[in-house]
Subunit: 435 residues, 2 copies
């Protein structure tokens, strides 16, 4: 026999059980998005390479999967690549379709992205992103709704989380007041790693990135700020008193926390000044969600951006968005055993098959049950009872209906509950009620 | 300003309205699949090129999108390509995962495929396929269930269709009795075009493909067979009396039509001897569905295959499947104006925003309504009434709730029905009832 076929490194097949679980995650997230008036869009898997290049840094450019042009006109056709995330295609979409869009534009998008990363545990070359954004409004109601969406999604999934919030304007203010306003990017990239590498390594990195000893020293009280959110914000007002942008960031956070309190959001929320997020298009609030009962890093993240569409020639459009990490949420639900038990099979009953007459009888019942929207299977051929029961077991079908001459004469079936092994005769009406 | 960005030729963006409509199609199809116990799987967008090459004929090989390998080890990595259909990846999946699969394996798969075809009206380089198959059983119950699924899907979508059925064994038998048993492929490929190019062109093509004048002549009565299904089958029994495979095909169709009649399938079904389907892996029943009220060709098609997994070293596994053409179904529903009207926006009510106090009031109501699973939007900033109404119009939101001092004092909102323009004061309970 030939060698077993396989799939490319870093890609995955999803079988029925995994798909049922993935759909549970996607459906939960989608239905919450819809509750807030967000609508779905989709963009093509391939974009012109010119749309993608230069948007993810030098490292990102290298990780783009490129498509070979083929055919006679290959040399003339624009080069293409597979999308690397959903954010740049969304920006491209907004600019390309701006005449059709009614702003503020509330959209969500759930599609795979591809990265030619070195495959490793938990890192794939094809994975889904699940993004929700509102673009075309400066209102902090956008931020509030994303916080409410985080609350509701994780409440429905049963995952206890903490939402970390910061504001890029505060980070810019900090850079300003410690005397290193041009180092904002270096500072945010370095302190983003505080959790992972510790304060000393961050300080070393800051020095390496050209921050003066004085500036690094001035930064320390800010990195170590503690207390309640109100206390932190008050302290920041003092520290940032000479930075206009910093004070604006504080005011934005105060307003957002006010809205959060006014709407009674039930969620652990922490103002986390160490939160920076690597992506440099963020200009306002930034978010990250961590599961409290699993060590897995961020499972949702995002923020406010003021000029995402500027790269495509449409400046001054502000938006805010977050992205749910479906793979990590899957891992958390698995680790904490939180997937609903009844997910695997929609099928409620399998009709076992022993012969032609029984099969025709079963087909009639199956039709009646399906008309009641009850999912039913009829085993396709007469074979050993054990095999048919094994099939029901493997698919976790809760009931098997057995039909013989006696049952047909009485217009009933013998219904076996797989979990208990109990059997009883049932009419069609009784079956509908049980299922 | 920079040039407007665009997307690669032959690809598409799907905006909110299109996505809502596409989801309506996919959800309808999925829920019918689930009613029959089919379960979803997904496979990666990219497959090893060795999995894809040689499976779609020379022409198909040319239409594969290849991915460039990058990085240091590029020359060593296996070449990859984007999937061309869902059938070959499914066969690969079955062989690769055979130890985990419990047969008969009932799966469906809804994912995009890519073909480097010349883009033209209605033909895209990226499009979704929607496949349902049962593999690992010879039972004609598989065929019956697909017929029932076709009936139920188009009943739910409201599209009147005709299901054309034939059997490849009958076509093989015909090739045998007209004395051209080695020409079965040429015959099926040519008569597949009967509807499009007419009988004379088909006869010319048959001659060109090396069929003797005698054989072409012998074929004519078969091409012109008329009458009821029973009459056609009876005539075929006579014509194919000397062909074992031909008679087996007739017997299979008789059994299938028997099952269809016994289960009371309400569907226009035609035994169509001109139906051949181009793909040569079919070995038994073949199907094609045409819309009765739109000229658009086949909107669903498929058939029985006896050795799909043989290409990957796992012989003798029989299956049967069909594929729904989502793009064409979309076009039929559009042409016949059959999409439900309420699809576009899930949002039932928009709260207009005039100031901070009103906003906070609206946020409380929005929270209460969302807890009742009613989709609600709050306009994010105080702006002109006209703009806010325009937003509701564009998203087809049926109600706008207006809040002023009077309403807040009475703990009510002024509810405007957008279609009629009627306004009335409503309490929260009244609002829940109306929405």
């Amino acid at each position: 026999m030939a060698q077993k076929p396989s799939i490319p490194k870093g890609t995955r097949d999803f079988g029925q059980v995994e798909m049922a679980r993935r759909n549970y995650i996607f459906d939960t997230i989608k239905s919450v998005f819809c509750l807030y008036g967000f609508q779905q869009i989709e963009t093509p898997a391939m974009e012109n390479l010119s749309t993608l290049m230069g948007k993810y840094g030098e490292e990102g450019d290298k990780l783009l999967f490129r498509i070979q042009n083929s055919g006679e006109k290959a040399a003339l056709a624009p080069e293409k690549g597979l999308r690397y995330d959903l954010t740049v295609p969304f920006a491209r979409y907004v600019v390309q379709h701006r005449e059709e869009i009614s702003f503020p534009f509330k959209r969500f998008q759930i599609q795979p992205v591809w990265r030619a990363d070195r495959p490793q545990k938990g890192r794939y070359r094809e994975f889904y992103q699940c993004d929700v954004d509102v673009i075309g409004s400066n209102s902090l109601l956008g931020e509030l709704e994303l916080v409410q969406i985080v609350e509701e999604v994780y409440r429905r999934l049963g995952i206890r989380v903490c939402l970390h919030i910061n504001n890029r304007k505060i980070l810019a203010g900090i850079a300003e007041v410690i005397g290193a306003p041009d180092k904002i990017i270096d500072i945010t990239v370095a302190i983003d790693k505080l959790d992972k590498i510790g304060v000393e390594a961050v300080n070393a990195e800051l020095a390496e990135r050209g921050l003066s000893e004085k500036a690094v020293k001035a930064l320390q009280p800010i990195l170590n700020l503690a207390g309640t959110t109100a206390e932190k914000l008050t302290a920041l007002r003092t520290i940032l008193v000479n930075s206009e942008i910093g004070l604006k960031g504080v005011a934005e956070l105060e307003e957002l926390f006010g809205l959060i309190e006014a709407t009674g959001v039930q969620l652990n929320i922490e103002l986390d000044l160490c939160l920076a997020r690597g992506l440099n298009y963020y200009t306002g609030a930034i978010f990250e969600v961590k599961a409290l009962d699993a060590q897995i890093g961020s499972i949702t993240g995002g923020g406010r951006y003021d000029n995402l569409t500027g790269i495509f020639g449409m400046p001054d459009v502000s938006g805010v968005g977050i992205s749910f990490g479906a793979d990590r949420i899957y891992d958390v639900l698995t680790e904490l055993d939180l997937f609903p038990k009844e997910l695997q099979s929609a099928t409620r009953v399998l009709f076992a098959t022993f012969g032609d007459a029984e099969l025709h009888y079963a087909l009639g019942w199956a039709k009646a049950l399906r008309a009641q929207k009850i999912a039913v299977e009829v085993y396709p051929e007469p074979t050993k009872m054990k095999k048919q029961m094994g099939y029901a077991d493997a698919k976790q079908i809760p009931y098997v209906a057995i039909v013989g001459g006696d049952e047909m004469a009485q217009n009933k079936v013998m219904l076996k509950e797989m979990a208990s092994g109990e059997q009883k005769l049932a009419t069609l009406e009784e079956l509908c009620t049980i299922l």
